[in-house]
């Protein structure tokens, strides 16, 4: 029940393989970063997509402040854990997601604090969430309280729940179907009845910017 989520006060801890670990109050974090608008297509693993104008800042600019060590190869994100406001018992809480360090510092990867010119509503990940536009939506973790830089890949929530269905990379890829459904097309939210589905693009259409990070990888194996 997202509307019950208590988001005030809020702080984000940035720790792990860094020179300068930090715990930032939300207010201070917002003062240091200059939020901009980023218009991205969000593609859900369940076959819908939507263009969203986010307000946020590149994750890289926050990570720069903590000075990652050369041993930092992965970034682990942890969501808030408020059992009293969370009813879903299917997944193990808190929700955890992760990125490779090069993905995390990619200029397209942002932390969003608002959307449509407003602050983030609770159900969309208030007060601060990740947005990685070339990956399926479940990678874009909501309500972040902890960012850890790690030597090894973290175990992530959906990957732990169903490792054959939800890979660590989860790059949008129309030619790698989910084991139970096709990823070839997507329903654009807001489109009319009787309008055809959109053909899904590799890396959700952001291939020009991100494909080089995966050029030596088998995208079927590392799905």
């Amino acid at each position: 029940m997202a509307h019950k989520l208590n988001i005030n006060p809020w702080s984000v801890e940035i720790i792990g393989e860094v020179e300068n670990p930090l715990t930032l109050q939300m207010e201070d974090l917002l003062k240091q970063q200059a939020p901009q608008e980023f218009v991205y297509r969000l593609r859900c693993v369940e076959g819908w997509s939507m263009v969203v104008p986010w307000i946020g800042f590149p994750l890289a600019s926050l990570l720069k402040r903590v000075k990652p060590l050369s041993t930092a190869k992965f970034v682990k994100f942890t969501s808030v854990h408020q059992p009293e406001t969370m009813r879903n018992r299917m997944l193990e809480w808190p929700y955890v997601e992760g990125l490779r360090i090069d993905e995390a510092v990619h200029p397209l990867t942002i932390l969003a604090v608002g959307m449509y010119g407003e602050i983030l509503p609770n159900q969309n990940g208030a007060p601060i969430r990740l947005v990685v536009p070339w990956k399926y939506g479940f990678k874009s973790i909501k309500a972040i309280v902890k960012i850890e830089l790690l030597k090894n890949a973290p175990t992530t929530t959906w990957n732990k729940y169903a490792p054959k269905e939800y890979g660590f990379y989860a790059n949008v890829n129309p030619s790698v179907p989910h084991p139970r459904w096709s990823q070839f097309s997507e329903r654009q939210l807001g489109s009319r009845f009787f309008s055809p589905r959109r053909q899904t693009e590799l890396f959700n259409g952001y291939g020009d910017q991100v494909a080089s990070m995966y050029k030596d990888m088998d995208l079927v194996h590392f799905f």
């Binding site: 819908w48 459904w181 009845f193």
Partner: protein, 195 residues
């Protein structure tokens, strides 16, 4: 087929038998009895889910992904009617009330009706008959295989449902109703895989 049912209902409804000896021989009582004959009532009530969905479409009440919501709701109603259809034989055995056999066909046909709308909504409302995408979608989505298999079974049951078809196919078709069971298994499994 629906007209067959309605005609059949009017001709030999169980409660209709009471029409021959009405308590009060007044026109409106007859009319009231006719309107509230159990089978007519079933036919009408079974259309309520469709009206409900239509109202939700009209008032934009289907949530953020209305096409998916519509598709799922039609499929759910088909499965519910299949459950009702399957429940009739056991209920008949338990209650020893034989008056329900005709309702099995009625609800079975409604399950087919909602399943057909479910399939049409997939092909036409969601995919706008874009066959190249549909073919890939069906080939790559295992949950659709089970749904499709369930639909083929219920389609065959519906085609062989009218008396004339049963006469052509012979008495064997009378025993077709057990095939509702695999249909509901496949339908349920399709839903399970899709969620």
């Amino acid at each position: 087929m629906l007209f067959d049912i309605i005609r059949e209902t009017l001709n030999k409804s169980y409660l209709g038998a009471s029409l021959k000896t009405p308590l009060l021989n007044v026109g409106w009582v007859l009319l009231f009895q006719k309107c509230f004959k159990l089978k007519n009532l079933c036919i009408t009530v079974s259309l309520i889910p469709l009206c409900w969905i239509a109202i939700d479409i009209a008032f934009d009440n289907l949530g953020a992904n209305p096409i998916q919501a519509l598709h799922i709701r039609l499929g759910d109603w088909s499965l519910r009617f299949l459950c009702v259809t399957l429940a009739i034989t056991p209920i008949q055995k338990i209650t020893k009330w034989s008056g329900m056999a005709n309702y099995r066909q009625l609800f079975g046909l409604y399950a087919f009706f909602y399943a057909s709308l479910h399939v049409l909504s997939y092909l036409y409302i969601d995919h706008a008959l874009a066959w190249s995408i549909i073919v890939t979608d069906v080939v790559e989505s295992s949950y659709i295989w089970f749904g499709l298999f369930a639909y083929i079974i219920i389609l065959l049951l519906a085609i062989t449902s009218p008396k004339s078809a049963k006469n052509i196919a012979g008495q064997g078709m009378e025993k077709a109703s057990p095939f509702y069971l695999p249909s509901i298994y496949c339908g349920d499994y399709s839903l399970f895989l899709a969620t």
